[in-house]
């Protein structure tokens, strides 16, 4: 859930930062790194305080977990996206527009396939960190929406080391499987767009 959102958002922000010129461009780039720089516990408490009162009451829901992870790990996607985009000749995108592609089509058919490697690393990073995160998340979990990492900590705290170890193995397995699946998906998808079917 977190993975595709932060992956796509990261690429979009990177695209905006590198290719478009608008007021507050540098502020956006800087702001996007901020949540990465702040310690996780602080972020967690911040989310609780912000979303505990109307208009947005999200404490104890799945949404707050997803939101927290997205904003916390999107900077990685942004930064790798920026690095790759700066390497791509802007003339390639101009050529696409010149041949009749709208801005969105250009992004979809030309830019995205070219930055797929960065997109992939953004995805994997977001996923791995979201699976193994604990510092910010520990304040945001609830009985309904718990996290495996928090569960592991709880088990260790109660002296049930065996259960904790079992959970850990499960986490590792999920992460590994997911990485393989994501890389397969990204691969097939960039090969598919390489054929360009409209």
């Amino acid at each position: 859930m977190t993975t595709p959102i932060s992956g796509l958002l990261g690429m979009l922000v990177a695209f905006l930062v590198v290719r478009r010129n608008f007021p507050g461009r540098t502020a956006l780039e800087f702001g996007s790194i901020l949540s990465f720089a702040v310690p996780g516990t602080v972020v967690g408490i911040g989310y609780i305080m912000a979303f505990n009162a109307p208009p947005l009451v999200l404490t104890g829901t799945l949404a707050i977990l997803v939101a927290c992870f997205v904003f916390r790990y999107v900077p990685v996607g942004i930064q790798s996206g920026i690095a790759v985009l700066r390497q791509i000749d802007p003339a390639i995108e101009e050529a696409a527009q010149n041949l009749g592609a709208t801005g969105l089509t250009t992004f979809r058919k030309i830019t995205l396939p070219l930055i797929a490697p960065a997109f992939f690393s953004g995805l994997v990073y977001a996923f791995v960190r979201a699976m193994t995160a604990i510092s910010a998340a520990i304040f945001l979990v609830s009985a309904n929406w718990n996290l495996m990492t928090v569960q592991i900590l709880n088990q260790v705290g109660s002296g049930r080391l065996g259960v904790a170890a079992a959970f850990s193995v499960v986490v590792i397995a999920i992460v590994l499987v997911a990485i393989v699946i994501i890389s397969r998906l990204v691969n097939r998808w960039s090969r598919h767009t390489a054929m360009v079917r409209f």
């Binding site: 003339a91 101009e94 050529a95 010149n98 041949l99 009749g100 396939p113 390489a194 360009v196 409209f198």
Partner: protein, 353 residues
Amino acid sequence: MTDNIRIVGLNKAFAGPDGSPVAAVRDINLEIGPGRLVTLLGPSGCGKTTLLRMIAGFEEPTSGDIFFGDRRMNDEPPNRRDTAMVFQSYAVFPHLDVFENVAFGLRLRKLDREEIERRVEKVLEQTGLASYARRSPSQLSGGQQQRVALARCIVMEPRVLLFDEPLSNLDAKLREQMRVEIRELQQRVGITSIYVTHDQVEAMSISDEIVVMNAGVVEQVGTPHTIYARPSSRFVADFIGKANFLATTVVDGETVEIAGVRLPVAGMPARRPGEAVSAVLRPEAIHLSPDSGLFKGIVRRVMFLGNIAEYLIEVEGAGQWIVDSANPAEAPLHQLGEAVFLTPSRHALHLLP
């Protein structure tokens, strides 16, 4: 299908480093006839690429209008202008093969499969790329990549073809070959074309008309022949080929005097006798002889270039002249310090306004 292009009072200013506007293009007025190939020629930074990018729609003019036929194009985004541009850096899509690169624009137009295949194959045939259709661009040489870029534009049958220094990344031999190909292809398809270059030989060899630009303004518009033989300013004369600038004095309606020697001038503008005028004399329009001629001089530099020998000659009372002498391999070269006589060809002198 193809259109004339009209540019009226076009200006473009960029924000300078201190925030104040810097004019890149100033008050350009141009009319380009349908099916013509016009070159924008000038040194780097003269605004020629900015002008081209405004025509393509990648830059917005600060003021002024651009018309294709009767349609004002200022507010049309680049993807709706029906122009096709060949970029200096080729800008082929690296993740698509040659066929898909060329088909890209047609697929966006949602043409049916057979028509796309037919048109792409025809253009690949025309550009000599038929056997490379399934290659990826990274397997092609620079010249082939630029052909892909060209094919990708021509297949669209656009209203206007734009070239942004398309050959400057190629080596000299290939450049010559490609400019012949571009010219032939342009004439065959008959699409109005604008070609940006800083290479005067390239401009002369492919254009119907040349627009010489300097510091954001148009210096002169004319056929290659006019621009070369009748430059309207010192800048144009100097930029197009080599030129000697001579200080002359007007004698009468068709004669000027240089260092005591009277020379005829064809189509001389109205001047008062005794007036000082600057004149252009091309290096190849001067005949060198070891024993007789109108001017006397001493050879100061000799360069053998194969097809010509270029001399720098200190002419008595008239400064230093560059002289090109054709077919130098035939006879022995004049030596450094040798005394020679110079005779300009009849009516070779052109007075600057």
